[in-house]
């Protein structure tokens, strides 16, 4: 789990089965293991009212483990963008009392939370668990472009090309960390680029 630094930086917990009949899980890559671990403490029949939406990582692992939980619905998506229309509809049509569980990379948790917030679900009511890569989703404060899967510090904006300090300051609304030009005052200063969010 990522270390706590400043107050706006999200803190993730450990998934635990919540009371209720309707459960929606969203996970990517190793986030599947958080669901599998949680299932060990879930009451019998818990997954009868559950939908699991899963984005496997590049190695395609964990699909079988999730299917074995026998959720009422299981959906595999190739990317977050591709599952967005479905997710929006699910949340729009959701009954009061739907429980949301988000597990995996910070980018997945953040983007899913962003959609859920827009649907009127309070962020404190969502279960989250961080698993896998520490890669960050970063918004360039200068050009406003989002760069996905940032692993270095500093990092180059994939839109405007400025070299950005990846701050811990985080916006739930944008589902992104803030990137600010690291050598704005003197562009000839090029700090070493290090792998910071593996």
């Amino acid at each position: 789990m990522a270390a706590k630094t400043i107050i706006s930086r999200p803190i993730y917990g450990t998934l635990s089965p919540q009371p209720g009949k309707h459960h929606l899980f969203l996970a990517d890559a190793d986030g599947a293991l958080a669901i599998v671990d949680m299932a060990k403490t879930a009451p019998a029949g818990f997954f009868d009212g559950a939908e699991i939406v899963f984005i496997p990582g590049p190695d395609g692992k964990h699909v079988g483990a999730l299917e074995a939980l026998k959720p009422a619905q299981f959906h595999q998506a190739p990317s977050f963008a591709s599952l967005l229309p479905r997710l929006k509809q699910t949340l729009t049509n959701a009954h009061m009392g739907l429980r949301l569980y988000l597990a995996g990379t910070e980018g997945l948790i953040g983007q899913a939370m962003q959609v859920a917030l827009e649907a009127g679900i309070d962020h404190t009511s969502m279960q989250t668990e961080h698993r896998g890569s520490l890669a960050r989703r970063m918004q360039c404060v200068h050009c406003k472009g989002i760069t996905e899967n940032v692993t270095t510090q500093p990092a180059t904006c994939s839109h405007c090309g400025l070299l950005l300090l990846v701050r811990d300051h985080y916006s739930r609304r944008l589902a992104a960390f803030q990137g600010v030009c690291i050598n704005a005052e003197d562009r000839s200063e090029i700090p070493p680029i290090e792998e910071a969010f593996p």
Binding site: I6, V141, D168, H169, S171, C181, A184
Partner: protein, 346 residues
């Protein structure tokens, strides 16, 4: 007789300056020879004639030029003005507050006439004479917050109060000291202050939030904050940091007096009557070192404050690169004599 509005710029050729009368009314923020964070909030009541507190919403000789600069910023980047959908009523609250206060303090420049919901607003310095229906957004050329804050000096944040917290849900922010409304909008009080060093540990924000959520209608409060800016630039946004950041490398012993500016924010906090929100105007005052040191007490005191500022604060305020040059320059104006208590010049 009214105010004589200066023709000046806050960019490119930087012709901004303060007239002699404006130098002595500058809200110097240090009441002693050292600075550390404190919950320095006090009631926002009318102060001495001729001070920036003569009226609760201050309009000064920079009004017209500041409004022109704001229009330039918004044309470049409309995201500097945002309001989440539930904040429109608070925008009307703010429109009422600013029209009332400006008309009250400066009747020769602003006039508000009300006939039920039909309002007529005359803003002579900007050549505006509009009649509209209060509460009906379709009768104004912009949303109510944007309309009135294009005609009011200072940045404005409107905070929604719920769940025992304050949420940054609307704002007009074009003269900010390095924070982004676009990034922070929707955050609560602790989240948007997250990057500030030292103050969280001191419990500053917990106490400040408690104070602010208890502010009552008709009893506004205020505090001062400060930083330093190279060149009289209002738009020191993070959005444009790569454009203004290089200014910080241009300070030399020869140009300190003209280039280095003390930037003081008079922040006030007002409960809004219909929405129960809080509006948080952040009024920015700039003064160049050459102007500031015409008051010997301020010169001595500023020297001691900047020299002794904790490194973390100096870094956060962005002073690191030019602090030694500035301290050296100010030291020549500090004979070591005692400075009198309080903010004002001797």
């Amino acid at each position: 007789m009214g105010i004589t509005f200066r023709k000046e710029t806050f960019r490119d050729d930087f012709t901004f300056k303060n007239s002699p009368e404006h130098i002595s009314r500058f809200p110097f923020p240090f009441h002693e020879d050292a600075y550390m964070y404190a919950v320095n909030i006090e009631p926002h009541v009318v102060g001495p004639k001729g001070s920036v507190l003569e009226n609760l919403i201050d309009v000064d000789e920079h009004y017209v030029a500041e409004m022109q600069d704001r229009a330039l910023v918004l044309a470049e980047d409309p995201l500097r003005c945002q309001s989440l959908p539930h904040m429109t009523l608070a925008g009307w609250d703010l429109l009422e507050l600013l029209m009332e206060q400006q008309a009250l303090g400066y009747p020769e420049h602003f006039t508000l006439t009300r006939d039920g919901d039909r309002w007529r607003w005359i803003n002579r310095p900007l050549g505006i004479d509009d009649t509209f229906t209060f509460g009906d957004t379709s009768t104004l050329p912009y949303g109510p917050m944007e309309y009135i804050t294009r005609q009011s000096q200072g940045d404005f944040c409107i905070l929604d109060q719920r769940d025992g917290n304050l949420w940054m849900d609307a704002g007009m922010v074009t003269t900010q000291a390095d924070w982004s409304l676009d990034f922070d909008i929707g955050m609560n009080f602790f989240e948007w202050h997250a990057p500030v060093p030292l103050a969280h540990e001191k419990g500053i924000f917990t106490r400040a939030l408690k104070f602010l959520t208890n502010i009552q209608q008709g009893k506004p409060a205020r505090r001062l904050n400060w930083t330093m800016t190279i060149n009289p630039r209002l738009d020191t946004s993070p959005e444009n940091y790569h454009k203004w950041g290089p200014d910080r490398t241009t300070v030399t012993p020869e140009n300190v007096g003209d280039k280095v500016h003390l930037r003081v924010e008079l922040q006030s906090f007002w409960r809004l009557p219909r929405s129960n929100g809080i509006v948080f105007p952040i009024r920015c005052y700039l003064i160049k070192m050459d102007e500031l040191v015409t008051q010997p007490k301020w010169a001595r005191r500023l020297h001691r404050v900047i020299r002794d500022l904790p490194e973390e604060l100096a870094t956060y305020k962005g002073l690191t690169r030019f602090r030694p040059t500035l301290v050296e320059w100010l030291s020549k104006l500090d004979d070591g004599s005692v400075t009198s208590p309080g903010f004002g010049p001797d």
